[in-house]
């Protein structure tokens, strides 16, 4: 036995060393944070994942920095993120029976490609193919599933053939009665393709906007409003016409939308010098198959004339949201009568300076950061866009963990919904 002492000692050292290390790792020497809902319903944070960095600090001296994601369940550090576990849930899984989850396999997470009601789920994709030297073909590939029977149908329909059919973008899919409507942005135009449920192209509808008369120096930029539930059944698609610089006359005669046309003179270029002057909101009505103007917002101060704002359309209103670190402002246009309402929240009301803001499902999630120096406290404010009400508040627990003279703080950067 003595003869084998060397091998026994080395093997034992290896086993004990690695074993102890694995136990040390399993004990997780890192602080566990959790997002805790203080006010409101915990379901407001379903699927919310906050990204942050856990920093150890001794007085003012910071050391040890680890990226982590925190939810209402707990903390997951980057180094412990498993490659073998399902990480990203498709956003529609929560709304579908488990039996129907297979429909989502291999499909994009972008909800604008889906339509879901209590009868069926539809998924659409656009594709462009060169069919000969001169022509391209834009096709729609659609897949539908009857939610009651689980029966799936798929078809491919040619939408356009021509020389310059490029970069089509599917912005919305809707079922109106026994027809499928595909709202498509292509060649700087919006067009709706109406198909039967069997995939036969019935008609094309050009989406036209009143042209407006631009003052010299004014530039227009047109974009679609983001919807709070892009996959849900809805009657309209929002279209925002942003005017930068100059004073703009009211809209006049209708003409098709062509916002990045062939003509160089019509080519829209936004420059940083241009300030946002106004936003005209239009909606395309699927039932009426025409565009109508809803209302106009005039930018009033430096916060609003800045180029950056977020927007989200709910079933009843369209919202534009601006923020800097000191304030949050929401302007709301009623889809029914075009009336405008405004609300504003100061950093003080929100519990600290605004570090991050995102819109999700008709709500604004505002991350406020309080505290000076190295002790930060984070508050997640949840505001309902339609009612302007504060519907929830959440915070980190613990705010800071202290071990001896060392404090461990999770600095939150932002959030996503998974």
């Amino acid at each position: 036995m003595k003869r084998y002492l060397l091998s026994i000692l080395l093997a034992a050292a290896a086993l004990v060393g690695i074993g102890s290390y694995c136990v040390y790792g399993a004990m997780n020497p890192f602080p566990e944070f959790r997002v805790v809902v203080g006010e409101g319903d915990e379901s407001l944070l379903d699927g919310a994942v906050f990204g942050g960095t856990m920093v150890r600090q001794y007085g003012s001296w910071k050391y040890g920095s680890y990226y982590a994601e925190v939810t209402t369940e707990g903390t997951e550090y980057e180094f412990e993120r498993s490659l073998f576990k399902k990480r990203n849930r498709h956003p529609l899984e929560a709304e579908l029976d488990p039996d129907a989850h297979a429909f989502l396999r291999g499909k994009t997470f972008a909800l604008v490609n889906f339509y879901l009601d209590d009868r069926m789920i539809v998924y659409g994709e656009l594709d462009t193919m060169q069919i000969n030297d001169l022509e391209r073909e834009v096709t729609a590939e659609l897949e539908m599933m009857d939610l009651a029977t689980g029966k799936r149908t798929a078809f491919r329909t040619v939408l356009e053939t021509g020389s310059r059919k490029s970069f089509p973008y599917l912005a919305d899919v809707q079922r109106i009665g026994d027809e499928l409507h595909l709202f498509v942005e292509m060649e700087n135009r919006y067009r709706v393709y109406v198909l039967t449920l069997e995939g036969e192209l019935v008609r094309k509808v050009d989406v036209g906007l009143p042209a407006g008369q631009e003052e010299e120096g004014a530039r227009r930029r047109i974009g679609l409003a983001s919807n709070h539930r892009p996959h849900a059944a809805k009657g309209v698609v929002g279209i925002q016409v942003m005017t930068y610089g100059g004073q703009v006359a009211p809209p006049s005669t209708p003409m098709p939308v062509e916002f990045y046309g062939d003509d160089e003179a019509n080519f829209v270029i936004d420059t940083n010098d241009d300030a946002l002057a106004r936003v005209d909101l239009y909606v395309y009505d699927y039932a009426e198959e025409r565009v109508r103007q809803v209302g106009t917002l005039i930018a009033e101060d430096a916060l609003e004339t800045g180029r950056s704002f977020s927007n989200q359309m709910t079933d009843t209103h369209h919202h534009l949201v601006w923020n800097d670190k000191d304030q949050l402002r929401i302007k709301q246009i009623s889809l029914a009568d075009g009336s405008v309402r405004t609300t504003a929240w100061t950093a003080e009301q929100l519990g600290g300076s605004i570090g991050y803001m995102t819109l999700h499902d008709g709500k604004a999630y505002v991350l406020a950061i309080d505290g000076n120096g190295y002790e930060k406290h984070f508050t997640v404010n949840i505001l309902d866009l339609d009612s302007f009400a504060m519907v929830g508040k959440a915070g980190l627990e613990p705010a800071i963990r202290t071990v001896g003279d060392v404090s461990e703080t999770l600095y939150l950067h932002g959030m996503v919904f998974r």
Partner: protein, 274 residues
């Protein structure tokens, strides 16, 4: 089993001088560097304190570790390269050593696979013992640093923070058990492939060289291909979720390891001769 254990001991015993040399080198460089840096920190702080010119700041062992990654990582890289050479050396010296030991090994009254398994087990013991030493050394480095630097300037650093200072430590000692198994599982698979390649070469000389080269090239394409595939979005094209794809790729590595062992045993039993 007894024969296998004896063979493992035989392999370990033969490598002991090199192993202890590597351990000594690692300990000497890492502890020596820590002593020097700690003395430097101590002198700097005490002289600042005496002069009252600048208020001395706190310091932890993370500072020398993070600022001198190359120095602390150097002996570790020497160990890795040596063990990599040992993968080949452990086989070829049986043929090209002072006495052609392979003749006696192949004639031993036991299954020939024991030779393969003993060399593999010995290598695992070397890797494990060097890792254990590195863990002990990290704790020793911290103890030495903390002993030299005056208490009033000292910040305590955790083992995880120390490992986080360098990519070499992060790969060698991942904090997650999953990554530990993953990294070392991949490493062992590569060793098995190289073992088998050596046996293919030894078994069918001279054309065995081409056979071994083709086998290694094929496995390299397959195994590196899995890493590239994981980093790409191939899983989307295959309508798979990323985690499902990871399981499939892990399965490919396991099959590659099993195939290497089977092929190695087969070569050892059927074609390898003195």
């Amino acid at each position: 089993m007894k024969a296998l254990l004896k063979l493992i001991h035989f392999e370990i015993h033969r490598f002991r001088h090199i192993l202890f040399g590597l351990m000594g080198l690692t300990a000497l460089v890492q502890i020596g560097a820590t002593v020097l840096f700690a003395i430097g920190e101590r002198v700097e702080r005490l002289s600042e304190y005496e002069n009252q010119a600048i208020v001395p700041g706190p310091v932890s062992v993370l500072e020398p570790l993070a600022n001198n990654r190359g120095l602390y990582g150097f002996p570790v890289l020497i160990c890795i390269v040596t063990l990599l050479l040992y993968v080949f050396l452990s086989w070829y010296r049986e043929w090209f050593g002072k006495s052609t030991l392979i003749y006696r090994l192949l004639m031993l009254p036991m299954p020939r696979r024991n030779i393969y398994l003993a060399k593999l087990a010995a290598l695992l013991v070397f890797i494990g013992s060097l890792l254990a030493l590195q863990l002990v050394l990290l704790l020793a480095i911290r103890a030495v640093f903390n002993a030299i630097v005056p208490d009033e300037y000292l910040v305590f650093a955790g083992l995880a923070d120390m490992i986080n200072t360098s990519a070499v430590f992060q790969i060698l000692l991942p904090l997650s058990l999953e990554f530990f198994v993953l990294f070392y599982g991949m490493g062992i698979t590569c060793v098995l492939v190289l073992f088998t390649a050596v046996l293919l070469e030894r078994g069918r000389r001279p054309r065995g060289t081409f056979l071994a080269a083709a086998y290694v090239a094929g496995m390299a394409v397959l195994l590196l291909g899995t890493i590239v595939a994981r980093a790409s979005s191939l899983h989307e094209w295959l309508n798979l979720y990323a985690y499902e794809f990871t399981w499939i790729l892990a399965g490919i590595w396991m099959v590659a390891a099993a195939f290497a062992v089977w092929l190695g045993f087969r070569a050892l039993n059927r074609t390898v001769s003195v």
